[in-house]
C-alpha cells in the first residue's frame, strides 16, 4: 500500500519532469537554424513547394501549436499531410524523420537491442569489477593490491573511451585476432556471434566505469568500516567475511546505487563514442547521424527518449532505495 502510493506519486512527478524536458528540447529545436522543410523540398525549391512541404510537416503553425501537436502525437499518434501522400506516425510518436522516411519511434526501436546489449552487459561487468576491486582495496588498505587497484583506476578514470576502444581493437582485434573489430549481430540470430562482437565494447566501457566505482566503493567502505555497528558486528563474533559482506556492503551500496542508476540510464540513451568506435548501429550512432544530417525531428525524438530513460532509471533507483535503506521508507 505504502509502496503503491510512493510509486504513483513518483510516476506523476516523472510525467511532470518529462513535460518540462520535452518543452525545452522543442524550444531548442525551434531556435536552431536549419529548416527540415527546406532540406526535404529538393531542387529546385520553388516557394510554392516549400510552402507545401511546410504545411505537410506542420511547420506552418506557430511553435506552441507544433509543440502541442508533438505532445498529442506522443499519446495518440499523428498523421502528416492528407490524402494519398499522408504519412501516419503511430503512438507513441516521437516525431517523423522526413529524411529517412521513417517514424522516429521505429528508428529508435530498431536501435534499442544494440544499445541495450552494450549498456546492460557493460553495467553488469563494471559493477562486479568496480565494487569488487573497491571492497578488496578497502579491506586490504595500503596493501600492494590496494595500490595496484587504485593506480589502475586512476588510469581508467583519465583514459578517454575512444582511446581505450581503439587500443583494444588494435590489440585484440588485429594483432591477436581474437574478436571481431566492428559490427553487431543480433542475439536472436547468432548468440555466439552476439557475444563475440560485444566483448570488446563491454570491456572498454566497463573498465572506464569500474575505475570510478572502485574509488567510490573503496571510500565508502573505509568510512562504513569505521562505523560503530561494524564494531558491534565484530564484537558478536561474526566472521570478517560476514562483517564486510553483509553488514558493511549493504550500507556501502546505498550511495553506489544512486550513481549506478544515473550512469546506466544515460548509457542506455546511447553510448555515443563507443558505438562509433566499434561501428555499432545503436542509439548513439543514430543521434550522431541525425546531428550530422541536421535531421531535427530525429534529434528531438532521440534526446527526449534518452531523457526518459534517465528519469526511468532514477525512478527505479528510488524504488530500490526503499528496499535497501529502511530509513528512506516512510
Amino acid at each position: 500500500m505504502r509502496l503503491l502510493r510512493l510509486i504513483s506519486g513518483r510516476l506523476l512527478s516523472m510525467v511532470g519532469t518529462l513535460l518540462v524536458i520535452s518543452l525545452i528540447t522543442y524550444l531548442v529545436f525551434v531556435l536552431l537554424p536549419g529548416d527540415p522543410a527546406q532540406l526535404s523540398c529538393g531542387r529546385p525549391c520553388t516557394p510554392q513547394r516549400l510552402a507545401e512541404a511546410r504545411a505537410f510537416m506542420g511547420y506552418d503553425q506557430p511553435w506552441w501549436q507544433q509543440y502541442l501537436a508533438f505532445l498529442g502525437g506522443l499519446f495518440a499518434g499523428r498523421t502528416f499531410g492528407s490524402g494519398a501522400a499522408a504519412v501516419h506516425c503511430a503512438a507513441p510518436c516521437f516525431g517523423y524523420s522526413f529524411q529517412l522516411n521513417e517514424s522516429v519511434t521505429q528508428l529508435i526501436v530498431n536501435r534499442i537491442p544494440v544499445t541495450f546489449s552494450i549498456a546492460i552487459g557493460a553495467a553488469v561487468l563494471w559493477l562486479i569489477l568496480g565494487v569488487g576491486a573497491g571492497v578488496v582495496s578497502a579491506v586490504r588498505r595500503g596493501s600492494a593490491m590496494d595500490r595496484a587497484a587504485m593506480t589502475f583506476s586512476t588510469v581508467g578514470v583519465s583514459a578517454p573511451s575512444y582511446l581505450l576502444g581503439l587500443l583494444g581493437i588494435l590489440l585484440f582485434g588485429f594483432t591477436l585476432n581474437m574478436v571481431p573489430v566492428n559490427g553487431y549481430v543480433a542475439l536472436t540470430e547468432d548468440p555466439v556471434g552476439w557475444l563475440w562482437h560485444l566483448v570488446l565494447p563491454w570491456c572498454v566501457l566497463a573498465l572506464i566505469h569500474a575505475a570510478i566505482y572502485a574509488r567510490l566503493t573503496r571510500g565508502q567502505m573505509l568510512e562504513v568500516l569505521g562505523e560503530d555497528y561494524i564494531r558491534t558486528a565484530r564484537a558478536k563474533g561474526l566472521r570478517e567475511r560476514k562483517v564486510v559482506g553483509r553488514h558493511a556492503l549493504r550500507n556501502v551500496l546505498i550511495p553506489v546505487i544512486t550513481v549506478f542508476g544515473i550512469d546506466l540510464g544515460s548509457l542506455l540513451g546511447g553510448a555515443v563514442i563507443t558505438e562509433r568506435v566499434f561501428s555499432m548501429p545503436g542509439l548513439g550512432a543514430l543521434l550522431l547521424d541525425a546531428v550530422g544530417n541536421v535531421d531535427l525531428p530525429l534529434i528531438v525524438g532521440v534526446t527526449l527518449f534518452s531523457a526518459f530513460l534517465i528519469i526511468l532509471a532514477n525512478f527505479l533507483v528510488d524504488l530500490i532505495y526503499n528496499v535497501v535503506d529502511p530509513r528512506v521508507a516512510r
Binding site: E227, D228, Y229, R231, T232, A233, R234, A235, K236, G237, L238, R239, H247, R250, N251, I254, V324, D325, P326, R327, R330
Partner: protein, 573 residues
C-alpha cells in the same frame, strides 16, 4: 589486588578470577610516533562482580576493553596477558577470539543508535548473534529473540524484533543491545559507557536491568564509564585510570569514602553534587503560576508568553508540538536553567529565543525586541545582543578558521573596529576565558575540548551580550574540565552581568550554577522556581523522578536514591 578482607565478595577471591589482566600494555604507532595508550595495567574480575574502569577521555579505559575482545586496530601493539577463565586472549587464534566474542563475552556500547546496523531489523541482528555461536535454525533463533527481548524488559517483543533501529528510542535500543549481548549466556559482559548517551530516567532503568541480569545470570560485568554516579550505583570494585595508568583500585565503598590517590580525590571533587532528596508528600502538584510582574523593576531581558512551537509531522495534518504553552522570564543578570530530557523542547526554546525558529503562537521578547515580528534588520541588531554557546565546540567552530578569526567574526559583523583594535579585543577575550594569547593563530583541531569550549565562550561574549544562551555547554566534556568551564561561566556572568539561559539535562550542574530553574517535560514547564526550592523539595512528580534517577557519587546515598526512584517509577511509570 589490595582489597580489605571485610568485603563479602572477597571470599570469592580465593577462587581463580574469571578475568585476569596482568601487565597489559597497548601502544599505537601514529605517523611514526609511538603513543602509549595503556601502561602495565593489572586487575582481576570475579564471577558475579561488577568492576568499573573509570577515567576521563584518553585514559585508556575503552582500549583495555577492546584489547580483551581482540578488537584493537591493526596499528596497536599489545603485550602482557589477559586471561578469561584461564584462557589467554592476547595473541589467540582468530577462531578462538570469534568464539569468545559474543559467545563468552557479550558487549554493549555507548551509542545504541549507531551501534546497531541501520539497514537490518533488531530481530535479524540478535538472531545473527545467536546463530554465530549456536547451531540453531532460523525459526528457533527467532523464537529465542522474542524471549530475550522480553527478558530485558521490552514491551511487545515481536514489534521490537520487526523494527529497524531508527524506529525505536535510545532506551529501547540499549535494551535490545543488552539482549543481543546476553543471547549466548556470556560469562562476562563488557559495558562500554552503556548509559552515557541516554537520559537519566532511562539510564536508571538500564542500570537496574544490568544489576538484575548480573544476579540472575551470575555473570561478571566490566563497566567502563566516566560517570562517578554510575560507578556508585552498580560497581563492586573500581579501577581508576589516568593517561593509561592505573592510579588506584579499591572496592567501591572504600574508594568513595576514602580515596587514596590525589587524582581520584580531584575526580570525585569535580563531580557536581545534588542536594539531599526530600520528597514532598504525594499531593496535587500545583501548576506553575505566571507571577505578576512588579512594574517598579526593570523589564525582564527575556519574556516568553504562551509560546507554542510546532514542527510539521511525518504525516500531513499531524504537527509535533515541541513546545507547548510555555511562559518564562529571565531578569537582568539572572541565570535561569531549562532542565529536561531529550525531546522535552529545551533546545527548541533556546532556538526560538534566538529567532532561529518560528513560533506557532505566543510572543517571545528579548531585550525589548519581539522576535517573531522583528524585521530582518532589527533581528540582525538583536542578535548582536545575543551570545550562544553550543554543546559540541568541535563542530560549532569552523575548522578552517583560526581561533582569533572565529572570535573576531562577531566583531567585524557588528562593530567597525579597526583590525588592530579587533586583535586587541580578541586578546582581551582570550584572557577573559583564561586562554594564553598565543592560541590566537591556532586552529580548533590543535586544541583540547575544554580549550575549544573556552574559545566558543569567548566568541559568544565578544559583543558584551545582554543574553547568553548556553545549550548543554559542558555535556561533551570530562568532569574535571566541566567543573572549570562552569566556574568560568559563573565568573564571566558576575563580571559582565549578562542574563543567561542555561540549557541542561544535568540537575547537579544546574544546582551549582543557576538562580532559577524551569523543568520541562514533553514541551511543558511542569515546575518552576528558585533552584534551592525545586531541587530540594520538588512538588511535581516528574521533577521528583528526574531527581531520584540522577545517580550521585556516593554508594550509600545512591542506594537510598535508587530505592526512591523505584518507588516513584512504580507510582507513575
Amino acid at each position: 589486588m589490595t582489597v580489605s578482607s571485610t568485603e563479602p565478595h572477597l571470599t570469592k577471591a580465593t577462587r581463580s578470577p574469571l578475568l585476569a589482566v596482568a601487565g597489559l600494555a597497548v601502544s599505537f604507532e601514529v605517523d611514526g610516533e609511538t603513543h602509549q595508550a595503556v601502561h602495565d595495567a593489572s586487575f582481576e574480575l570475579h564471577r558475579g562482580q561488577v568492576l568499573a574502569l573509570v577515567g576521563e577521555s584518553g585514559s585508556g579505559k575503552s582500549v583495555t576493553a577492546m584489547a580483551t575482545l581482540g578488537l584493537l586496530p591493526a596499528t596497536a601493539r599489545v603485550s602482557g596477558s589477559i586471561t578469561l577463565a584461564g584462557t589467554e586472549l592476547i595473541g589467540a587464534e582468530p577462531r578462538l577470539l570469534r568464539e569468545v566474542r559474543g559467545g563468552r563475552i557479550g558487549t554493549i556500547f555507548q551509542e545504541p543508535m549507531t551501534a546497531l546496523n541501520p539497514v537490518f531489523t533488531i530481530g535479524d541482528q540478535i538472531a545473527e548473534a545467536i546463530r554465530a555461536h549456536r547451531p540453531v535454525r532460523r525459526a528457533a533463533a527467532a523464537a529465542q529473540v522474542l524471549e530475550l527481548l522480553g527478558t530485558v524488559g521490552l514491551d511487545d517483543p515481536s514489534r521490537v524484533a520487526r523494527s529497524y533501529p531508527h524506529e525505536l528510542s535510545g532506551g529501547q535500543l540499549q535494551r535490545a543491545m543488552i539482549s543481543m549481548a546476553i543471547s549466548c549466556d556470556p560469562v562476562l559482559l563488557i559495558a562500554d559507557e552503556p548509559t552515557t548517551a541516554l537520559d537519566v530516567t532511562v539510564q536508571a532503568g538500564i542500570l537496574d536491568l544490568l544489576r538484575d541480569l548480573r544476579k540472575r545470570l551470575d555473570m561478571a560485568v566490566l563497566l567502563i564509564t566516566h560517570d562517578m554516579g554510575v560507578v556508585a550505583d552498580v560497581a563492586d570494585t573500581v579501577v581508576v585510570l589516568r593517561d593509561g595508568q592505573i592510579v588506584e583500585q579499591a572496592t567501591a565503598a572504600q574508594l568513595f569514602s576514602a580515596p587514596r590517590h590525589e587524582y581520584t580525590r580531584t575526580l570525585l571533587h569535580a563531580v557536581p553534587r545534588l542536594p539531599e532528596l526530600r520528597l514532598a508528600e504525594p499531593g496535587t502538584p500545583q501548576p506553575p503560576e505566571p507571577q505578576p510582574l512588579d512594574p517598579t523593576l526593570p523589564p525582564p531581558v527575556v519574556q516568553l508568553r504562551n509560546v507554542v512551537v510546532e514542527y510539521p509531522g511525518r504525516r500531513r495534518g499531524h504537527p509535533v508540538r515541541a513546545v507547548d504553552d510555555v511562559c518564562l522570564h529571565i531578569d537582568q543578570g539572572e541565570m535561569v536553567a531549562l532542565v529536561g530530557e531529550s525531546g522535552s523542547g529545551k533546545s527548541t526554546i533556546g532556538r526560538a529565543l534566538a529567532g532561529l525558529l518560528p513560533t506557532t503562537s505566543g510572543t517571545v521578547t528579548v531585550a525589548g525586541v519581539e522576535v517573531g515580528r522583528a524585521t530582518r534588520r532589527e533581528l540582525r541588531n538583536f542578535r548582536s545582543q545575543l551570545g550562544i554557546v553550543f554543546q559540541d565546540p568541535a563542530s560549532s567552530l569552523n575548522p578552517r578558521r583560526t581561533v582569533g578569526a572565529s572570535i573576531a567574526e562577531p566583531l567585524s559583523l557588528h562593530t567597525d573596529l579597526s583590525p588592530d583594535a579587533q586583535r586587541r579585543r580578541v586578546d582581551e577575550l582570550l584572557e577573559a576565558v583564561e586562554l594564553p594569547s598565543r592560541l590566537h593563530d591556532r586552529h580548533p583541531h590543535e586544541m583540547s575540548g575544554g580549550q575549544r569550549q573556552r574559545v566558543a565562550i569567548a566568541r559568544a561574549i565578544a559583543l558584551n551580550p545582554a543574553l547568553l544562551i548556553a545549550d548543554e555547554p559542558t555535556s561533551a566534556l570530562d568532569v574535571s574540565v566541566q567543573a572549570r568551564i562552569l566556574d568560568l561561566l559563573l565568573a564571566l556572568q558576575r563580571q559582565i552581568g549578562f542574563s543567561c539561559l542555561f540549557i541542561s539535562h544535568d540537575l547537579a550542574v544546574v544546582e551549582q550554577l543557576a538562580d532559577r530553574v524551569a523543568v520541562l517535560h514533553r514541551g511543558r514547564v511542569v515546575e518552576e522556581g528558585p533552584v534551592q526550592t525545586v531541587l530540594r523539595a520538588p512538588r511535581h512528580p516528574y521533577t521528583a523522578r528526574l531527581l531520584a534517577a540522577a545517580p550521585v557519587a556516593d554508594p550509600t546515598r545512591q542506594a537510598l536514591r535508587r530505592e526512591a526512584w523505584r518507588q516513584l517509577t512504580l507510582a507513575s511509570p
